[in-house]
């Protein structure tokens, strides 16, 4: 087996060192009958050629986003990733390292995490950010729990425009943890509406919302703060930070975001990375790893994981979360891509995303019977057609177009949204793609 270095002679010699005749002597503690003599009922070892062939065959049964005009978003976005990013994250020293618990020989990981935290804080307009979480949705769940800890209250109000998967995660962790969730109606016109009472620890709102709509959150922040609650802002499209007023500037107390859009591929939904930022005063209630600056014995600047007294491996049942793993390599991809972009590049990227979405909205809106129902948006918006959204998307797929996400897939219980489709454009969208979408949509609706 190519991954196992021992020859039989090596094994023999090592058994001898242990003074035993047979490897199963080392499994003596396994209860009678539980140590299996027969092999598992699974295929035997295969060569690299065979594995590659079998998996390539499976891969060929999927339709890659880049192979067709592609407009799906709804929490995961098809952006272009510079080849440099993939090279960097595949560096042996980054990819095959462990969590930087020995900082003297992990400064590479630690410094990029510090850079990552700095970038996330800047993007979100907040003071501090952690070293990443599993993804945006789990970060949203953690944000609610943190708000409970900070306010010592136990109810979260979730606005209707929050991505339904995010809402479901918040509801799941809340219910299981013994907390209350007040989820507001799902309606594109009131998707930012929410209020807080004295039991409310936080208002959770998404911006741009799950329909793509953008709005100023300042009034909502005030409303929350007046009630002694925090404002948690969810962002699922990190590129929007380059175009829109930051959540921090609008009064957010915690910002969680899905970072996939920068540096990370679609990957059918994972691995992604959660961004988590907040005010400095709440830092000791934050979940997840934090990387901090310090000096070494010789006075040189260096970085370490810090405030680990919040974490499970020290604090055990009193930890701020049970999280052990973060999304280190995804965070590196994010940081490297954002370093390449820089401030000017991110702003240009965001501008192009917006421009393509505006062009797309104009074109689709000109199809008879199609209505763009999102008044202001970044790179994603919602349309309503005369037919069921799911049927339209299905028919478009037969025309070789991935035309967006039917609202009925996101909110199956909302009959008013049955004909709606959430549509996204990015910098990878071409005029040809838009023209092909329009032509196919006309065909599907009226052909």
């Amino acid at each position: 087996m190519r991954y196992l270095p021992h020859t039989d002679a090596d094994r023999r010699a090592m058994l001898d060192t242990n003074g035993i005749a047979d490897i199963d002597a080392l499994f003596a503690a396994v209860p009678e009958g539980a140590l299996r003599r027969e092999l598992p009922d699974l295929p035997r070892a295969q060569s690299e050629i065979a594995v590659e062939r079998a998996l390539s065959r499976l891969a060929a049964r999927n339709v890659p986003a880049s192979s067709v005009p592609f407009f799906a978003g709804a929490g995961a976005y098809k952006h272009h990733i510079p080849a440099t990013v993939d090279h960097i994250i595949q560096r042996s020293e980054f990819m095959t390292a462990y969590t930087p618990y020995q900082p003297e020989i992990a400064q590479g990981t630690l410094q990029y995490l510090f850079e990552f935290q700095s970038q996330v804080a800047a993007l979100t307009g907040m003071e501090v950010a952690n070293a990443s979480m599993y993804d945006g949705s789990t970060a949203a769940g953690e944000a609610v729990l943190m708000a409970h800890r900070v306010t010592r209250r136990s109810k979260a109000v979730v606005a209707g425009g929050v991505h339904p998967h995010y809402r479901a995660v918040i509801e799941t962790v809340s219910r299981l943890g013994g907390f209350a969730v007040d989820a507001r109606a799902v309606d594109p016109e009131t998707s930012f509406d929410a209020d807080a009472d004295k039991d409310t620890s936080c208002i959770v709102v998404q911006m741009p919302d799950a329909f793509g709509r953008v709005a100023d959150l300042s009034a909502l922040a005030e409303k929350a703060h007046e009630a002694g609650a925090l404002l948690v802002v969810v962002v699922t499209e990190a590129v929007s930070f380059g175009a829109l007023k930051s959540p921090g500037a609008m009064g957010a107390d915690i910002v969680v975001a899905e970072g996939q859009s920068i540096g990370n591929g679609l990957n059918f939904g994972g691995p992604y990375l959660g961004l988590f930022a907040t005010r400095k005063k709440f830092v000791r209630q934050m979940p997840g790893r934090l990387c901090g600056e310090t000096v070494d014995h010789d006075g040189r600047r260096g970085f370490v994981l810090t405030l680990s007294t919040r974490e499970q491996h020290i604090r055990r049942e009193k930890a701020t979360s049970n999280i052990c793993t973060n999304s280190g390599l995804c965070a590196l991809a994010f940081t490297a891509h954002l370093t390449l972009l820089g401030e000017a590049g991110l702003k240009t990227l965001a501008r192009i995303n917006h421009a393509n979405a505006v062009a797309l909205a104009k074109t689709l809106g000109s199809v008879p019977g199609v209505e763009v129902i999102t008044p202001a948006f970044f790179n994603e918006f919602t349309i309503r057609t005369p037919k069921l959204g799911a049927a339209v998307i299905d028919a478009l797929a037969d025309h070789g177009i991935i035309g967006g996400v039917p609202a009925s897939r996101l909110w199956p219980d909302e009959p008013t949204l049955a004909n709606a489709i959430v549509v996204a454009a990015t910098e990878t969208t071409t005029p040809d793609d838009i023209a092909a979408f329009r032509a196919a949509l006309e065909e599907v609706l009226h052909g």
Binding site: M1, R2, P5, N18, I23, L26, A29, A34, R36, L39, P40, R44, L55, R57, R61, A65, T84, S92, F94, M95, T96, Y98, E104, I105, A106, G108, F114, S118, A122, A129, H165, A168, L176, L244, E258, G265, N267, G269, G270, L290, G302, T306, Q312, R316, A319, N322, C324, G328, L329, C330, L332, G342, E343, A344, G345, K347, H354, N356, I402, P412
Partner: protein, 489 residues
């Protein structure tokens, strides 16, 4: 040459990405344009490459040397897995594109499930947990849901956890509203049936047990413990972190486990990536199978379907909810399946055997110079304590740092907490005898040096690393967590 931060070398104008300007110029941002300076620094492409390549050179990694971290299972990361995960058919598909355009992905998830269920001997699987601790949450949530279904959620609120457990165990239990009750270990490092029985009661919901445990020992009474728990209406959660010792040899389902997470990076070689991303699928017993969260994949004839909402679940299923957006760590699934297919049933078993053999070889060759709290029966990792350092002026931490100067990553230290100055060594099956011998020789030499009174070599270590010891107290006292903080605008 010291490597500065990007903020110290970049500028707001510089960019390493070029764009074609779009035709459209109308803006529909609703007046929310960002007008302030964000505070990002950009670098050109060559500068970016050099910056991160140089940073990487300050890291230790499995590709550069043995990573004997007990309980962490740092093994070889095959590049075939990376190549497969990057096939456009896997890497470039959207989680919400039509099911008919992702049948290969759903087939892969089904195939991965088949392997994991067969290896663990369990009945159902939840693929969506994003890491081991997330898997723990998933498994314990399924237990809570089962208790709810039994109407005992309010009465059974205690979870038994051995003192040697990973910190994630009690933390997970607490996050689900459980109270943690510690179970002491026997002097031999294992948990006895009597200790479990003593802790049992009508208030107990579950026990969380790692097997092999964090002392590297297989729990010999695991079956009796499971029986005792089940008799008392209590579920057994197995922490699968150490599955690498027994995959292909022992099926946790045969031992009585009701739920177990599997760290794909530990047992199935997905790269650890300096702290993630992980993936923590959870396997469930028949008793818990109904409660698996959404989403999951169902086969219907030749087609595969995603069940994304509880309402959509098949007859008899009662998903406890949703743990994350989308369907799990697909990129990790591809890698793990590539690894399992490469090994096959025979290779997986051999890998477990080699992992255990390697740990025992290390144990045998170090037994005379170090001290062991539990000298018998190590599995895939071997535990030493600090008694051999008594009177030398050298602490476990010093010893670890001195190993850095010898060119090795240290073992896990001060874990498990039940042992004084613990040193937990897990070489994994990836290491050749030659590599083990090098490492062993270095440890032996250090042990002798410590005993010979050469304390300075330890207390001042590391001297040959990119940094000497870092001041962690200072970092925590007045935390500096981002570059901007130092230059408030």
């Amino acid at each position: 040459i010291e490597e500065p931060l990007i903020f110290e070398i970049g500028s707001a104008e510089t960019s390493g990405v070029d764009f074609e300007e779009p035709a459209e110029t109308e803006t529909r941002l609703g007046g929310l344009e960002r007008t302030d300076a964000i505070g990002l620094a950009g670098l050109s492409e060559p500068e970016t490459m050099r910056h991160y390549v140089r940073l990487s050179q300050k890291n230790y990694s499995i590709d550069t040397g043995i990573f004997p971290l007990g309980s962490c299972t740092m093994k070889h990361n095959p590049r075939l897995n990376e190549k497969m995960a990057r096939l456009p058919g896997f890497a470039d598909i959207h989680p919400l594109q039509p099911e008919k355009t992702v049948q290969g992905a759903l087939a892969l998830m089904t195939e991965l499930s088949r392997w994991l269920l067969e290896l663990t001997g369990m009945h159902a699987i939840a693929l969506s947990p994003k890491a081991g601790a997330h898997g723990e949450f998933c498994g314990m949530a399924a237990i809570k849901a089962a208790l709810e279904a039994r109407g005992e959620a309010e009465t059974r609120r205690v979870v038994l956890v051995p003192v040697s457990a990973h910190g994630t165990n009690p933390a997970t239990a607490a996050h689900l509203g459980f109270t943690v009750r510690a179970v002491e270990a026997e002097p031999d490092g294992t948990v006895s049936v009597d200790a479990v029985r003593a802790a049992l009661g009508p208030d107990v919901a579950a026990m969380m047990l790692t097997n092999p445990n964090t002392c590297g020992l297989f729990e010999p009474h695991i079956r009796e413990i499971a029986d005792a728990l089940h008799e008392a209406g209590v579920y057994l959660y197995c922490d699968g972190a150490n599955f690498n010792a027994i995959a292909g040899k022992v099926r946790p389902g045969d031992l009585g486990a009701d739920a177990m997470h599997i760290n794909l990076h530990k047992t199935f070689s997905t790269p650890h990536g300096g702290g993630g991303p992980g993936a923590g699928p959870v396997v469930l017993s028949e008793a818990l199978a109904a409660y698996a969260p959404v989403p999951f994949v169902r086969r219907e004839g030749d087609a595969f379907r995603l069940v994304e909402h509880a309402d959509d679940a098949p007859e008899g299923a009662a998903p406890f909810g949703r743990l994350a957006a989308f369907h799990g760590q697909m990129g990790m699934f591809v890698r793990a399946l590539a690894y399992m297919m490469s090994h096959g049933a025979d290779g997986i078993r051999q890998a477990s055997e080699d992992a255990v053999l390697n740990a025992n070889y290390v144990r045998a060759r170090l037994a005379d110079v170090l001290t062991q709290p539990f000298p018998e029966g190590a599995m895939h990792e071997v535990l030493f304590d600090d008694r051999f350092l008594k009177g030398t002026g050298v602490s476990t931490l010093d010893f670890a740092k001195a190993l850095i100067d010898e060119g090795f990553h240290p073992m896990t230290v001060y874990f498990p907490l039940v042992v004084s100055g613990a040193m937990l060594i897990e070489p994994t099956e990836s290491e050749s005898k030659q590599s083990l011998d090098q490492f062993i020789d270095a440890v032996r030499a250090l042990a002798l040096a410590a005993k010979a009174g050469d304390a300075v070599r330890f207390t001042e270590a590391p001297r040959f690393a990119p940094r000497s010891r870092l001041d962690e107290t200072r970092a925590a006292r007045d935390p500096v967590l981002s570059y901007r903080e130092k230059t408030p605008e």
